[in-house]
């Protein structure tokens, strides 16, 4: 189940390791600078600065209520939908601040997709239309383009073989695990550059979870992934980098194997060794 990572050699210092691990072209696809989110007067995350490197999987871990989901939702401006939420600081996509005046949040979300904790297929649509929804509603009419995109996304999401004979069935008729893979396929159809995943496997059984984890390894060839997870084994299995959040602060960020084997912060160590959280 667990594949050996190319850089899973444990090294004494993070610095060397980073160079070893992440080959030549490690560049941040996204980066936050002093990002804070408030709900009314309540603080959600505070002054978080971290990169999300291109074509890697970055895990956000931490105990419940630590702000990891809040942080994730700030990365594609989902907080715009919550009137009381306020975002300060910068979130850069390829060096461009997505919160800069004049930036169209719709354009941003087209490039930065999201998969949610609970599977949320569109209730009235078929499997096919759920996956095609993004393209169709953006105005794509060409049947061949849609057919191809639907098949590609469903294949990527490891769902094609299970649903290819019943694409006209309601999306809601699928099992929970299948629905979540349907939602992943739906997010992939519009070909986002970054995919944000908010505990995508928390409501799934081990087999569905594994298929989604395998998918991540495949996905990062084309997409940059940030994934919130409660499951530290999962973070260890799928991610290249990990950020540990506590009470709204980013406590530590680094290559996953370093953070797990040689955490710099005692809080991180307490959490990953299971003494806290």
């Amino acid at each position: 189940m667990n594949q050996q990572k190319p850089y899973s050699v444990s090294m004494p210092t993070g610095q060397t390791e980073t160079k070893l691990t992440l080959a030549a072209d490690l560049r941040p696809r996204m980066e936050t600078k002093g990002l804070s989110v408030y709900y009314g007067k309540k603080m959600g995350v505070r002054n978080v600065s971290m990169p999300i490197y291109a074509n890697t999987v970055t895990a956000l871990i931490g105990p419940s209520g630590c702000g990891k989901t809040t942080f994730l939702r700030a990365l594609n401006r989902m907080h715009d939908l919550t009137p009381i939420a306020r975002v300060e600081g910068e979130a850069l996509l390829d060096g461009q601040n997505i919160y800069a005046p004049g930036v169209d949040a719709v354009e941003i979300r087209r490039k930065i997709g999201m998969v949610f904790q609970k599977p949320n297929p569109f209730p009235t649509l078929t499997i096919y239309d759920n996956v095609a929804a993004g393209l169709k509603l953006m105005g794509v009419r060409r049947r061949d383009v849609l057919d191809e995109a639907v098949e590609r996304s469903l294949t990527q999401a490891a769902l094609w073989n299970e649903v290819k004979d019943r694409l006209r069935a309601p999306g809601m008729s699928l099992s929970g695990g299948q629905q979540q893979r349907l939602c992943i396929a739906r997010a992939l159809t519009v070909q986002p550059e970054v995919l944000l995943m908010d505990e995508p496997t928390s409501s799934l059984d081990p087999i569905s979870t594994q298929s989604i984890e395998d998918l991540l390894t495949e996905l990062k060839k084309h997409v940059t992934v940030a994934i919130v997870t409660h499951n530290m084994q999962q973070a260890g299995r799928v991610s290249d980098f990990t950020g540990y959040f506590l009470l709204g602060d980013l406590i530590e960020f680094g290559p996953t194997n370093q953070l797990f084997t040689n955490p710099k912060d005692p809080h991180t160590e307490a959490y990953i060794t299971g003494r806290f959280g």
Partner: protein
């Protein structure tokens, strides 16, 4: 440390099975009685309309216009046509306005006009239908100098709109928030998400609300007296005074001639059936469409 409390012994005993079974039967009977009490007025009204109205219904009653009592009393074609025309126009105007308002209240709660719209709609909802008729009388009938079907339809539209608005808002709120999030996260504009993903998920409820408003408007007589004005002739346009079944019922029921009173029952039955058929048709169509 204190010894742990024995939780099991702390939970009150639920009595034995026989006692619980008796309670169950008693409660089910009470619920049944309650249902009967609530439903009986409805059944009584529908029953009375059916029993008293059915004998007057025949082809002539449905296809003839008004005639004096001495000439057989005629039929209600003029009222049926008038009702249909005025109510359909009212449904179109009031339904659209109410629907649009409901979408605004549900999907754009931060829009600056939302609080005003909510207040206006609450106010309109509480305003007696008679007053709404008077408003139309003042702004349409007086300036044009005549009663007309258009004025009647407008009065009905004002009655219908707040009902549709409230029900639309309610059923849209039932669509899970996650549907909107999923749509927005795909990079779709909010309006597109509303039109293509949220509203379709609530079609059935929206249509039910429209039918509720339609039924309410179809039963209104008071505001039509000084807007539509009533008529004894068949009009195929709304530019003239127009009859409505609700008006007919009121007028005929107050006439001394027994024939007219019987015809009033007949009109009531036709009106009831019209609302029923419209609502069944609408439901059937929505189901078919989905």
């Amino acid at each position: 440390m204190r010894p742990p409390t024995d939780i099991a012994s702390a939970i009150p005993k639920g009595g034995n099975l026989r006692v619980r079974r008796v309670w169950n039967v008693v409660m089910v009977i009470l619920l049944l009685l309650g249902s009967i009490v609530v439903l009986s007025p409805l059944i009584a009204v529908l029953g009375a309309v059916f029993v008293n109205g059915l004998p007057t219904i025949n082809l002539a009653f449905l296809t003839q216009e008004f005639r004096p009592v001495g000439e057989g009393g005629g039929g209600l074609l003029h009222a049926i046509v008038g009702t249909l025309m005025m109510n359909l126009l009212a449904l179109l105007i009031g339904g659209l306005l109410g629907f649009a308002g409901g979408v605004l209240l549900s999907e754009y709660p931060d829009h600056p006009i939302t609080p005003y719209l909510r207040t206006i709609s609450d106010l309109l909802n509480g305003l007696p239908a008679l007053l709404k008729g008077l408003v139309i009388y003042a702004i349409i009938v007086l300036p044009t100098g005549m009663f007309s079907g258009y004025a009647g339809a407008l009065a009905l539209a004002i009655i219908l709109a707040p009902i549709v608005l409230r029900s639309t808002e309610g059923v849209l709120q039932l669509v899970p928030w996650s549907v909107r999030e999923a749509g927005v996260a795909l990079g779709l504009p909010r309006w597109r998400v509303t039109i293509s993903l949220v509203i379709p998920a609530a079609t059935f409820g929206v249509v039910t609300g429209l039918m509720l408003g339609f039924a309410r408007a179809a039963g209104e007589a008071a505001p039509l007296f000084f807007t539509a004005g009533g008529s004894q002739f068949l009009n195929l346009t709304l530019g003239q005074p127009t009859e409505s079944l609700a008006l007919t019922i009121f007028k005929y029921a107050n006439e001394p001639a027994v024939l007219r009173q019987e015809q009033a029952w007949g009109a009531a039955l036709i009106l009831t059936s019209m609302v029923l058929v419209a609502s069944l048709l609408a439901r059937w169509a929505t189901r078919k469409y989905n």
